[in-house]
């Protein structure tokens, strides 16, 4: 595959990762923080940005690790362990850097960074990247697109929930219940994007 067809493939992957194959609404990944944190737009914004950054970076790091270490040695089944370690180490590293260079940002992010380590979407994205055998450029598109897709979903959810704060919701539905229903409606809406792209 020459570089231009690689780039156009990457672009298709990028767009579909946001809309037609949204990692949260189509693949169910990253639900826990999605339901737990999406109450406020501000917090969701911060978490969403952090997810974009971590997802893109770890997808790339894991691509390198897979191509350079695991593939040549034939240790495919190690990918679970290796990817998780890379993700955990990367998040730990980012946390240390932020703490050192921007204590105010560190304060604001608070619990988010460790929360991201267990975000199944991060590991899931890397696993899919391997299964689909993406090139380096496509991995960039995929990691970035998946992160942005997740970000969009949580922002939309937070926006909707903030509007609902003064509505009367039945006691049993408050919190996760209504969030799941909204998620269902969003998933339904996103299915409408399916016909937009063909072939990646």
């Amino acid at each position: 595959m020459n570089i231009t067809s690689q780039m156009s493939h990457a672009l298709v992957v990028f767009v579909s990762a946001i809309f037609t194959q949204n990692i949260l609404l189509s693949y169910f990944l990253g639900l826990c923080p999605f339901i737990g944190v999406s109450r406020e737009v501000k917090t969701s914004f911060g978490l969403g940005l952090a997810v974009i950054f971590v997802m893109t970076s770890t997808c790339l790091l894991n691509w390198v690790a897979y191509q350079v270490v695991l593939e040549p040695l034939g240790l495919h089944f190690f990918r679970f362990i290796m990817f998780i370690i890379i993700i955990a180490a990367f998040v730990q590293f980012v946390e240390m850097v932020i703490e050192r260079y921007s204590p105010s940002l560190y304060q604001r992010l608070g619990i988010f960074l460790p929360l991201i380590t267990v975000n199944c979407a991060i590991l899931g994205a890397s696993l899919f990247m391997v299964i689909r055998d993406y090139s380096f450029v496509a991995t960039v598109g995929y990691g970035l697109g998946s992160g942005i897709g997740w970000f969009l979903a949580i922002m939309a959810m937070a926006g909707i929930r903030q509007r609902l704060t003064n509505e009367r919701i039945p006691r049993g539905l408050q919190g996760p219940g209504i969030t799941l229903i909204i998620a269902g409606l969003m998933a339904l809406a996103f299915i409408g994007f399916t016909g937009v792209l063909q072939g990646n």
Partner: protein
């Protein structure tokens, strides 16, 4: 305390990783043959199931393997990368492998073609990880049976997968309801393989030994 020495963390991590990894590696080795046998059998079963007059459900594992060995010939030049099913020495059908990206993971299957090189005898899948009840329905009889008797179109898309409810032409089948993504991808997978097969066939005259 030894726990707090800096080198301990690294050594501990290393030891724990080695310990658990060796168990995993050991187990993988132990089951390796079985896993490969399963995969081989799935492939052989798929190939045989697209041939006409074969009742695959009634056959045991050894029977499937034996029949495969007896009937199926490896791909060669004249069959253009398709397996050849032989009966009494004559080519009875071609079996073309198809593979590509599904919604979740790669889909691998085979498509059976008659000796006239345009009529399809059937389609079967031996590897897929699509959503059960949705995309995975492509492995079930109602979807697969549609392909019997369909014809590879001589130009443009060899096969088209249409929305459920639309009237079908000679080279068209219905998609699985609710599984648009898988159906779209499957169409691409099938057509990529069939197009190559069809265009290579067109380069030469008909008939082969």
């Amino acid at each position: 305390m030894i726990r707090e020495k800096p080198w301990f963390a690294v050594a501990y991590m290393f030891l724990v990783t080695v310990f658990f990894s060796s168990i995993v590696i050991g187990l993988t080795q132990l089951t390796r043959e079985r896993v490969e046998a399963n995969e081989r059998l799935a492939f052989e079963r798929a190939v045989l199931s697209v041939l006409p007059d074969i009742r695959i459900e009634e056959m045991t594992r050894p029977k499937i393997h034996n029949m495969f060995v007896e009937t199926i010939e490896e791909p060669n030049e004249s069959s253009r990368n398709a397996y050849v099913a032989r009966r009494h020495g004559q080519a009875a059908a071609y079996v073309l492998p198809i593979s590509g990206q599904g919604f979740w993971a790669p889909i691998k299957g085979v498509i059976g073609i008659e000796t006239d090189r345009r009529t399809i005898t059937g389609v079967a899948f031996y590897e897929q990880k699509e959503t059960p009840g949705l995309g995975a329905e492509i492995t079930k009889a109602p979807f697969r049976n549609q392909f019997e008797g369909k014809v590879i179109w001589p130009h443009g898309d060899p096969i088209e997968i249409k929305r459920p409810g639309e009237t079908l032409g000679e080279n068209e089948v219905h998609a699985v309801t609710g599984a648009t993504q898988t159906s779209n991808r499957l169409e691409i997978i099938i057509n990529k393989a069939l197009e190559r097969w069809r265009d290579q066939s067109a380069g030469e005259g008909g008939g082969d030994q």
